[in-house]
Structure formats: structure tokens, C-alpha cells
Symmetry: C2
Subunit: 273 residues, 2 copies
């Protein structure tokens, strides 16, 4: 399995050609239990992730930034919950970026982002991110093509700086189909315990589906670099989506060459009285 | 089960009279599987905690602060990991407070703490806290009795302000025996994967065990209030410790009167196109 190769964004991204319903890792035989097996395998993979995270935390020499993007209901929250259940909250910093506040808007768009990048030893998860500050104003017409290009240049510079400062950056686009989103929004309407998640303005965003897909294609093409790669993860199946992201996370951490740090003293001589 | 009553700190705390090895919730029959049953019951309780946490997160009207204190190896990390495995990192903010930095020392001792209190909808876990900034200098003789009293008054005022601003505050002292600490420190020496956790300065703290126990007794007596209660949790058994803390957390959240918030619009009229 080389998930990082398999799900890496292509040079020219055409989201309409990427099938959000694909489940390439799903086992062919034994239909009934496919989801169950995907859950079990995901748990096994994140058990391995948890061990690498402990080394990362213990060594405090590197850091990991996971950016999650996707349309509403694509599973940014669900992925965050599923992937980090075996990791102590001490080692994870998850931040959601909503519409910027007045104080945030008074600064450059990377200002509020920078405050939440991970320090040594930590994993940070961005549930939405600096990309929203290009995607949304671009679709709404608040910035023109020239400013859009300028912002992507700022993002490239920013992410290169993070990478050169010891941060492993990976960016995941959870690719949902418009049909699956309809189903999930409808589920929120049908279940009183999910009503709080339903925001009528989500429908306005949905009505501009194609414009957002084009904006994502541009964003990914403009910022997919070796030190800050984009992965496109088919997200119509939740269990399969988690499985792919678990693979990506594990392979990424394997490549970080983590190990246990040297003890703080010559422990052979230490005696506990 | 009323854990909040049972483990609430007594008016006059005498830690030498509190048995750290107690397991009052352990089932009498079926010795062999006691730990396994405690793990299963803990998981069940934190499943209920997770549901309340979703309501807290959805409503964004209240917040919860859990302060964990205890001697080295008492299980502050282990408790944090065990208790929040079913909660998304989006809803939890765990902060460890080590020795203050130069910039932190240039401010009042609550300055660095205040920056990490939870916002509406969130649970914050303090792994060590503002209490360290009284306990440690008190034992080391860096502050006198008068300054110690002054700081506890500052803490009382600070915690009352948090409580009156919608924060439910609970403080847990993980009560470990000196013998069990010896065993756990020795385990860190014996296991190469735990060497990074072993800090020889922990032995200096251990050598002042009694002074720290007295300092804790003072701290708890000075700051145990209805709106910011202290619980003393016997912590020699890890599974039983987690079980007690799960009970405390669940009872605390039950008392917060959480519910699902009203939807953002009249959803009956909404149609997903």
C-alpha cells in the first residue's frame, strides 16, 4: 500500500473526473462486513500512528500539521474524531477556522493561522484553514484573480517556511459528491440531535457547488508541492475515508524518521530511593 | 453512586490518613477480571460523557475546566488519555504547565493560566496548573507564608470569576503513595521506551515528599469551594483511578443541565435541493 502515491493530487486536478464514491481499498469478497473490516483496520493503523506520535512527543524536534478541507458534511469533524481516538489530547491541537472575526480581518489572512501552527512534539489539525480565506472570497467575488494568485503565493511561502522549520505539512481534500452531501444534509434535518449542525447558509454554499469545485481545483493546483502535498480522498464512504486518511497519516509519520530520544542522564547510575 | 460526595476533599485534609491504595468501587467477587471490568465500565461512562460533551459543544453556552494535580507518575497524563478517547480533539484543549518561562515569570502567576481557560462549548484539561506556582515555590522556600496565603486568595478570586462567567471548575488531586511512585519510577528506568519520561530532577522532588504532601493539604484546604471543588482520588490503581474520574466527570456534566440547542432556523420549511 502506498497511499501517498495513490491519492496524491494529480498535476491538473479535475474534480468532476474524480469519483467521490470510489472505494479502492475495499476488500472484494464478503460484502456484508466491509465497513466493519475497514473500521478494524483503521483502528490497527492508528494504533501504529499513536506509537509514532509518542516518539514525536517525546523527542520534541519535529511537528506535524494536518490540514483538512472539504465541502460541508465532507467529514472534517468525523475524520478528526476517528483518527485521534488513540492519541492523548496532550499531543493534539485541533483548531476550527470559521469566518474571521473583526480583529482577525484587521490583519493579513495568515495571522490567525500562524497562531495555531504546532510547536515541537505536537500534531495540529486544521479543520478548515487558510485556504478558506482564498476559496470563499474568490467564489463570492470579494477578491479578483490577481489577489487570488497573490494569496496562493503567500500560502506557498508560508508553508515552505513551516516545512523548513521542521513541520511536516499534509493537506487533505475530502472529496464528497453533491448527491452524498444532499443525503447528509437531509439526515441533519431528520435527526433532532443533529439540528444544531444544520446552518441554512450551508444551502447558499451548496447552490454554488460548481464554483467551489473550480476554486478547489485552482487552490490545489497552485499549492501542491513536495513539502506540502495535497491528497484527494474520496469521501462518500465514511469508513473507507477514515481508512485512507489513516494510511496517509501513518505513511507520513513513517517517513519522519522518528525515534525515542536519548535519556536526560546516564540512567544506569540512577537509583530510586 | 455519588462520586462527587464520596471523593470530595474533607474540610481538614490529612493526606497520610487517605489510603492511596483504596479501591472502594472494585467489585468484591471475581478478582481476576476486576481491572478488565473497571476498564469496560469506564468506557461506558465516558461514552455518556461524550454525549454530554456534544451538547456542550453544540450549545456553546458553558465551559468546563478540569484541573489535574498530583505528584510525578500519579497519572495526570494517563487519566487525560483514558478519559477523552471518545471525544473529538475539536472539543478538548489539554495544556501542560511546566516551569514558567522567562516571559511568563515576568507576569503575575495567573497570566499564563488565563490564556488557556476554555471558551464556550469547550472542555479544558490542565495537566498541572496555577497550583504549581504556589506549591513549588512554597516547598523550595522561594515564597513565604504570607505570599502563599496571598496567592491562594488570588486563586479563589480567579476561580470564582471563572465560575461566575459560566465555567464549571473541578479539581482533582491524584493521590499516589510513595511506594507506588517508587515502583513507577523504577519502571521508567527499566523500559527503554519510557526513558524519555525519566527526569532525574523528579528524584529531588521525591526527596521532599512530605513537604509536598503538606503543601497540597494547605492548597486544597485553602481553595476547596462549592463552585471549584477538590476531589481526592486514590491513584495507586490505574484502572480504578480512571473509573473514579469518569464518575466524577459524568456526574459533573449531568449537573450542568445541558441540552441540544434550538436549530438556527425553522427547519420544517427547509428543503435540500
Amino acid at each position: 500500500m502506498n497511499a501517498r502515491e495513490r491519492f496524491r493530487a494529480p498535476k491538473k486536478v479535475e474534480l468532476r473526473d474524480e469519483d467521490a464514491g470510489l472505494t479502492p481499498l475495499r476488500e472484494k469478497n464478503g460484502n456484508g462486513g466491509a465497513k466493519q473490516r475497514e473500521r478494524a483496520l483503521t483502528d490497527e493503523l492508528i494504533g501504529q500512528v499513536a506509537r509514532f506520535q509518542e516518539m514525536l512527543y517525546a523527542s520534541r524536534k519535529q511537528k506535524l500539521l494536518l490540514v483538512l478541507q472539504g465541502m460541508d458534511t465532507a467529514g472534517k469533524d468525523g475524520t478528526t474524531r476517528a483518527l485521534f481516538s488513540q492519541i492523548s489530547p496532550m499531543g493534539i491541537q485541533a483548531t476550527g477556522f470559521n469566518a474571521p472575526t473583526e480583529r482577525e480581518r484587521a490583519h493579513d489572512f495568515l495571522w490567525r493561522i500562524h497562531a495555531h501552527v504546532p510547536g515541537n512534539g505536537l500534531i495540529a489539525v486544521f479543520n478548515r484553514s487558510h485556504y478558506e480565506d482564498v476559496l470563499v472570497p474568490r467564489v463570492l467575488g470579494d477578491i479578483d484573480g490577481k489577489e487570488t494568485k497573490r494569496r496562493y503565493a503567500h500560502i506557498r511561502d508560508f508553508e515552505r517556511m513551516l516545512a523548513e522549520s521542521g513541520t511536516t505539512v499534509i493537506k487533505i481534500f475530502l472529496h464528497l459528491s453533491k448527491e452524498e452531501q444532499k443525503k447528509r444534509l437531509q439526515e441533519r434535518l431528520d435527526d433532532p440531535e443533529k439540528h444544531w449542525k444544520f446552518d441554512p447558509t450551508d444551502l447558499a454554499v451548496r447552490s454554488q457547488w460548481d464554483a467551489y469545485q473550480r476554486a478547489y481545483e485552482d487552490a490545489i493546483a497552485a499549492t501542491d508541492l513536495g513539502h506540502a502535498p495535497w491528497y484527494i480522498v474520496p469521501a462518500d464512504s465514511k469508513t473507507h475515508r477514515n481508512l485512507i486518511v489513516a494510511h496517509l497519516l501513518l505513511e507520513t509519520m513513517q517517513a519522519m524518521n522518528l525515534s525515542w530520544p536519548a535519556p536526560k542522564a546516564d540512567l544506569a547510575k540512577v537509583k530510586v530511593e
